[in-house]
């Protein structure tokens, strides 16, 4: 018995000491960095506030990317290690979209909030700014019920992000100015034909496609794959001729509005809204956003995102004033008529949604053949989780681009599940949706959606509360969504068949 005791004790000690050493060694930054292949993970960490701290204290990889001791550290470490080894052996780092993985909804899976709070015990240090006061109060009130993570506001804490502003972004969009001649006059429209609108006082122009009115069947038949109940019953609808913007409103277009009107309310309060609610006939501009409205994906011809429904309507009112035309958001019927372009299937191009869908049992067997859908739609299958410039896709038969993908679009109708069933029998003429409601309709899927959700007939309600989930401002912004980076909009202009003119100028 005894002769086994000493060697056993020795082996035990070695094991304990050894595993301790392994734990230590595998928790060092150099060990993490020896495999971790994200470009610049280490250098961006060195430029972050967690490395270059005022006190000189350095925060290491595992202090954020693993939970604190006693809160599942070993299990999390084992899991992360296994995942990393598997990734190292089987994945091509070049093929991984690291930028997507840096977005909060992905990054939060690898940043432990319990670890944030293990160090940052006091969320209300005496040095906290006024903006920080409000934000941390919002966090302590709603972190649980609204699922808010520290990195929703402090995404750049561990790895530097160029241009990241965790707070009121007063400079946003101010330097965005499209090179070129400044337009003096808006476009003259004398006949029903596609025209290029020019916004006076700006360098911005865009194309409005003439879409001749007609009858079509709105909604989808019960047998359509991925159909939802709210897409029916199918109704025959008549829509008048109108102009529909070739592409979703771009950042260039929206920022022209922002730059010219934001003088009305260049603060983060809602003064502008009050003027409007009081019935004063002025177009008041958006207040500065909180954070990065473009998500760092770029401005230019990419579709504007993260603006609210009210901001979209304000933009259309402003555009009408600037051009003397009647610009507005499309109705749901106008939108679907435009998107179908005279076709009647799930898409305006050939193909079965089941063939294109990237999820489901079929995908275990074979990769989808997406050559056709890729030509027309920016969706989950090809978007790398962000918006695309409109030049990337081809137009539909009416010459409209990105009706089905890129960003979901506001239309002016209130949302109801049974909106189509509510219309009177027979052909419905220029329907405008339910008389009242709480959320608007979103049409056309986005870069986040799979093929089944970018069908022409797919529809969904806006989710205002969710879109403002992490906005800590009191009150929340009426101009910018903090959390909906997949919604934009498109404008239409009315056409007056009696005068043959597209304008309402006197």
């Amino acid at each position: 018995m005894l002769r086994w005791f000493l060697p056993g004790l020795l082996a035990g000690c070695l094991l304990i000491l050894g595993s301790g050493a392994v734990m230590t060694r595998t928790s060092e930054n150099s060990f993490c960095d020896s495999c971790h292949m994200h470009p610049n993970a280490a250098s961006r960490w060195k430029r972050s506030v967690h490395y270059d701290t005022r006190s000189g204290t350095r925060t290491d990889c595992v202090e954020c990317h693993l939970p604190p001791k006693g809160e599942g550290l070993l299990v999390a470490k084992a899991k992360a290690g296994a995942r990393d080894v598997w990734g190292k052996l089987t994945k091509d780092p070049e093929a991984i979209d690291w930028e997507v993985k840096s977005q909060p909804e992905y990054a939060r899976r690898h940043v432990y909030e319990s670890s944030c709070k293990a160090c940052h015990e006091n969320l209300f240090p005496a040095t906290l700014s006024k903006e920080g006061d409000d934000a941390h109060l919002y966090y302590t009130n709603y972190a649980e019920s609204r699922d808010i993570h520290c990195i929703n506001c402090h995404l750049n804490a561990g790895h530097h992000i160029e241009g990241y502003v965790p707070g009121a972004n007063m400079d946003f969009g101010l330097r965005a100015w499209v090179e070129g001649a400044v337009w003096e006059e808006p476009a003259r429209v004398e006949e029903f034909a596609t025209f290029t609108e020019t916004i006076p006082g700006t360098t911005v122009s865009f194309t409005m496609m003439a879409v001749p009115g007609g009858r079509f069947f709105m909604g989808s038949p019960p047998e359509e794959p991925f159909r939802r109940e709210n897409e029916g019953p199918v109704r025959e609808v008549l829509v008048d001729s109108l102009f529909i913007a070739e592409v979703e409103v771009t950042w260039d277009e929206y920022l022209a509005f922002y730059a010219m009107t934001s003088g009305e309310g260049r603060s983060t309060d809602t003064e502008g809204m009050r003027l409007e609610m009081a019935g004063v006939d002025v177009v008041t501009g958006a207040t500065p956003p909180y954070g990065q409205p473009d998500q760092g994906w770029g401005l230019g011809s990419r579709p504007v995102i993260t603006v609210t429904f009210q901001a979209a309507e304000a933009y259309a009112r402003w555009l009408s004033q600037m051009t003397g035309k009647r610009y507005r958001l499309p109705t749901e019927a106008e939108w679907e008529y435009g998107a179908r372009g005279g076709t009647s299937g799930p898409y305006f191009f050939p193909g079965d949604p089941r063939e294109y869908e990237g999820r489901g049992i079929r995908r275990l067997l074979a990769r989808p053949d997406t050559a056709v859908i890729n030509r027309y739609v920016v969706y989950a299958g090809n978007s790398r989780s962000r918006t695309a410039e409109p030049m990337r896709v081809e137009a539909n038969p009416f010459g409209l681009k990105n009706m089905l993908g890129n960003v979901a679009e506001f239309v002016s109708d209130w949302y109801a599940d049974d909106a189509y069933a509510r219309y009177p029998e027979g052909v419905v003429v220029n329907p405008t949706g339910p008389a009242e409601g709480t959320e608007r309709v979103l049409r056309g899927g986005s870069f986040r959606d799979e093929a089944g959700r970018v069908r022409v007939a797919a529809r969904a309600p806006t989710t205002t509360d969710a879109c403002l989930r992490t906005d800590p401002q009191m009150p929340k912004s009426i101009w910018w969504y903090s959390d909906c980076n997949y919604i934009g909009f498109r404008v239409v202009a009315e056409y007056d068949a009696r005068t043959g003119r597209g304008s309402n100028d006197p």
């Binding site: 240090p125 005496a126 906290l128 409000d134 109060l137 009191m474 009150p475 929340k476």
Partner: protein
Amino acid sequence: MSDEALSRRGFVGTAVAAGVAGAALPLFLTGCSAPRREVTIPVFLDQAPDGPLLTAGLVGCGGRGTGAALDFLNAGPNLKVTALGDVFPDRVNACRERLNRDKGQEIPEERSFVGFDAWEKVMDSGVDVVLLATPPYFRPEQFAAAVDARKHVFMEKPVCVDPTGARSVIVTARKAEGLGLSVVTGTQRRHQRDYVATYREVARGRIGELVSATCYWNQGKLWHRDPNPAWSEMEYMIRDWVNWCWLSGDHIVEQHIHNLDVIHWFMGAYPVSAVGFGSRHRRVTGDQFDNFSVDYVMEDGRHFHSMCRQIDGCADNISERVQGTKGWSNCQNLIADHAGKELWKYQYPLDEEGNPTHAVEVSPFLQEHIDLVTAIRTDKPLNEAEATAMSTLVAIMGRISAYTGREVTMEEVMGSDMRLGPRVFAFGPVDMPNEVPVAGQPYVART
């Protein structure tokens, strides 16, 4: 611990002997259905313990402030008031004389500050504690500055008049907590021994689970000042402050907060919504109502009702009442079952002839300062600011509902940017609307 050992004197004796004066006694409660809840029963001393000199500066030298300064000085040994500040010189002078006459405090001229910036000078004068007793409008900013300057604070209720102020006080309260500062807030029922003893009995389940509550502050007319041709509009408003919503928060906030706070304390929760009525029948000056009636709803669906009035010649009642599954209590000294049978009564001290008195041993106004000084000297911080800010916000929620006629939710007020009062402070005209609110919409004839 037995009931016997929990009796105040018995426990205080032990606490003092053990050198943990002022310690709070946690009481663990279990119920069949309710989750385990921990409540804290404060332990009261008759005097704060001795210690190094603590100096206080008073901001707001009216009746309430002067009273607070006297209570501070009476709280224990080695306490001094060394600076005064008020917007009006007559207030500073009267207070200075009173503190000199009653307590022999010599506050020199150069530490008696007058004007809208007097409070900043008081805070810069090297005091350890600031006593904030101006009209509540000014509280959030002064409290933030006091904590920023690492001062312990006594401040009168209410602690703000609008949601912006409430959020500011909540944040400052948390900063004070991080800094280990003590803050006592003038909701003196929480320092009144009969209330606390009753709370302990209710928390132990004497009346079962609480199902509803009612609270009242119905009294006659409060005071007002008539305009004086020598005063600017700003001076007039401040001198007449209990009649102006931007300064006082209206009487549901300014006065009734005491009773609302007791309900929150006993029920252990704040309401999530309110629907209120109110109107102005007989108020003489200002822009406030003189009566409110509000139905508050808790998250779990329990309701409680609040009533307050400042009109002469009506039924008066200043009290609270909580209803439980097994009985009820007036929150102050009595517990009875549903049949009206007395289950428990607070034992007031006896007078010289051996008859029970009707007052607690130590005035709750004095007790607040004893508790504050004890917390500072024993380094066991006491911080009531957030609880009082929440109670103030509940009162504000009721006020907004009565003013507008709408249901108002806690989520709404918590996220509201409402900020009352002028943007500029100087003696002169006050540029802001001050009509008395009218609820709802006017009738429009439909033809």
